[in-house]
Amino acid sequence: MPSREGAKTSRNQKGRILILGVGNLLLSDEGVGVHVARKLMEMDFPPQVRVVEGGTDGFGLMHVLLDADRLILVDAVKGGGPPGSIYRFEVEDCPPFPDVFKTSVHQISILEVINLSALIGSTPRTTVIGVEPKRLEMGMELSPEIEAKIPKVIQFIREELTLSLGNLSGKGPDEAF
């Protein structure tokens, strides 16, 4: 009988990678993750890579999350840098926010969902690629400076993918694509 670790490894060997773009498409730069996801959907990726437009869903994304061995999350991030700044960090680097949790009622943030899903399954290792927004007003278009950063964001995602595909399949990065 395989050990639990063994089971986990074999699951990892499937190497299902999820690229999840989240945000609200109706609030201009807030939707940058969704805009990126849509661009990615037009591109070709290896079959184990799945691109999902998560919108502003929280709990409802848990079923997608738990289906992945590796998650690349694309979202607007308020990091304090100038608009268009791109951040790349592991989800563990971003502390959960108990003060929000205390009084909140309904929907929960994507980071909370990742945390919560650990209660019932194994949460995929998660890297956030974030973009500092310029404006969050109502509108379906990105600000030009943010739009201009999309190719760069996609390049970072590709780098993550190359590394992950290499690690997850046991092959070197060069063989992954």
């Binding site: 109706l26 919108g55 502003t56 869903d57 308020k78 840098g81 790349r88 959960p96 929907q107 929960i108």
Partner: protein
């Protein structure tokens, strides 16, 4: 003058719903409910192809997107003159039914139950049940690692909180089980809906994806699992809590408010659309369960007041005429939410409203047997009971779908009415989990000339109106006991019992620390 307590944010998404209460002698004397974010997404639709409406409106809300899609296609069906074939109706209903199960389970177990539990009682569990011991181990492990999220007590337990270690540990086990069940419910909806969160297959005229027999079988077997959970876990939990430790709250009808109820009606049970699972209707001034007079619902009687909202001064208007001009300097205004009224009367919408309008035998039976008055606890009961009703209807729809699929000429879409008319108007009504949702569209020159959505939480969370009548959240807080102003747990219980959602929302990651800057890569 009493002490003012402000609870902001009350929705998990920051800054969208703020509740202010004035407490005097340990009770709420007055209350103000305020939506603190400007809406008005409707403006994005003007001049667009009407078929874009269901796509754009499904992004109004971070939580209830698919139901906007549904109300929107119903408004478009009406405006285009589309006759949705029975197959299309069934598929829409099955996808929406999955949404109900998902939504109500999450609301009860993950968003509300912790307000009624003294979670730390788990540590005192001494029973031998292997499953419950595992739960104890898990939670104690989290506490020891200092990672109490997501079970951190949000308020101090009070005299109504359940403290029995066996009961609390069982409840937390159900919380974990329900996490798996909500995933199942989501996956079930995706079988027909296409990808989630934004279902692709629900469009004006019907549905786009023909189902196959395997899909129906898969759907059914997932439904079996969910039905078992609803009937054997969810309903018994709600009844046990409501008639046990929470009975004093239930009998006092804490959080009852105006006790006026509105349902638009939803979910066709037959091809002619004569029989609905939830009937439309209006009930005003409910005192007990006897002699409820249900009046017919007429959408012409809906108006929206902006007397206390940050909009340009205007008389109350029907949604067809509704406008969206903000006035942030407006005197006396305290909310971005307008105040919808039915026949100039504030209404509650949602599961309790549907249960009362339907004179649901199980709900009214429970209320009679235990002397429960309409209020926060009855709202949780109504939500559980209607989940059971929806599950039963879903079996019926599966049967109907299987029968319809095998008949020649099986249709799921009215393709003759796909092109937008030069002009027209249509109203689309739907009863999503949170309550009455209406979309109104006017079309001119094949384009959207006006669009308005009146969402469930607008009814419940509305501010005062021309007559100074409070909205339902506000009214339901009057008299609520707040013995300790530092711990307004009853206020939160009442508001949460409505399943508040003003989440037309910003979701960006805001770590509240400058640490993230060190991860700048470009």
């Amino acid at each position: 003058m009493g002490k003012r307590i402000t609870i902001d944010p009350i929705t998990r998404i920051e800054g969208h719903l703020k509740i202010e209460v004035e407490v005097e002698n340990g009770k709420v004397k007055d209350a103000w409910s305020s939506g603190t974010m400007a809406r008005g997404f409707e403006a994005l639709l003007l001049g667009k192809d009407p078929r874009d409406a269901s796509y754009v409106t499904s992004r109004f809300c971070g939580v209830c997107f698919s139901v906007h899609q549904m109300a929107s296609v119903r408004a478009l069906d009406a405006a285009f003159g589309a006759q949705v074939p029975w197959g299309g109706i069934l598929l829409r209903n099955l996808v929406m039914g999955a949404e109900y199960i998902y939504d109500h389970l999450v609301h009860f177990y993950h968003l509300s139950a912790l307000d009624y539990l003294d979670i730390m009682a788990i540590a005192k569990y001494t029973g031998k049940d292997p499953e419950l011991s595992k739960v104890k181990e898990k939670v104690v492990g989290l506490v020891q690692r200092g990672d109490t999220f997501p079970l951190t007590p949000r308020y101090e337990p009070d005299e109504f909180s359940v403290k029995d270690p066996d009961v609390v540990t069982t409840a937390v086990k159900h919380y974990l089980d329900a996490l798996k069940m909500q995933i199942k419910a989501k996956n079930m909806g995706v079988i027909f809906g296409g990808r989630a969160p934004h279902y692709q297959s629900i469009v004006v005229g019907g549905f786009t994806q023909y189902p196959d027999i395997n899909q129906v079988a898969r759907f059914r077997s997932m439904l079996d699992e969910l039905a078992a959970f609803v009937n054997e876990v969810y309903i018994p939990d709600v009844v046990a809590f409501g008639t046990g430790p929470l009975l004093p709250l239930a009998k006092a009808g804490i959080g009852g408010g105006h006790r006026n109820y509105l349902s638009y009606g939803s979910f066709e049970l037959d091809e002619a659309g004569q029989k609905l699972l939830f009937k439309p209707g209006v009930v005003v001034g409910v005192k007990g369960t006897e002699g409820l007079t249900v009046r017919p619902f007429q959408h012409e009687k809906i108006t929206e007041s902006v007397r206390y909202s940050w909009y340009k001064n205007d008389t109350p208007r029907h949604p067809y005429e509704g406008a969206q001009v903000f006035d942030l300097e407006r005197r006396d205004a305290y909310s971005f939410v307008k105040a919808p009224r039915y026949d100039e009367t504030p209404m509650e919408v949602g599961p309790l409203a549907r249960g009362v309008v339907d004179r649901d035998p199980m709900l009214l039976g429970l209320m009679n047997d235990y002397g429960v008055k309409p209020g926060a606890v009855a709202r949780h009961a109504a939500r559980a009971i209607e989940t059971k009703k929806v599950v039963e209807a879903m079996y019926h729809w599966c049967d109907e779908l299987t029968a319809a699929m095998t008949k020649p000429g099986f249709k799921i879409h009215d393709t003759d009415h796909w092109q937008p008319p030069a002009q027209g108007e249509g109203a689309g009504f739907f009863e999503p989990p949170r309550g009455a949702l209406g979309h109104w569209i006017r079309i001119k020159d094949h384009k959207i000339a006006n669009y308005q959505a009146v969402v469930p939480s607008t009814w419940n969370a509305s501010p005062r109106d021309e007559r100074g009548l409070r909205g339902q959240y506000e009214e339901s807080l009057i008299g609520v006991p707040v013995p300790d102003p530092e711990n307004p747990i009853n206020v939160v219980r009442v508001i949460r019992s409505f399943d508040p959602c003003l989440a037309c929302a910003i979701h960006l990651i805001d770590p509240r620390t400058n640490q993230i800057r060190k991860f700048l890569v470009e």
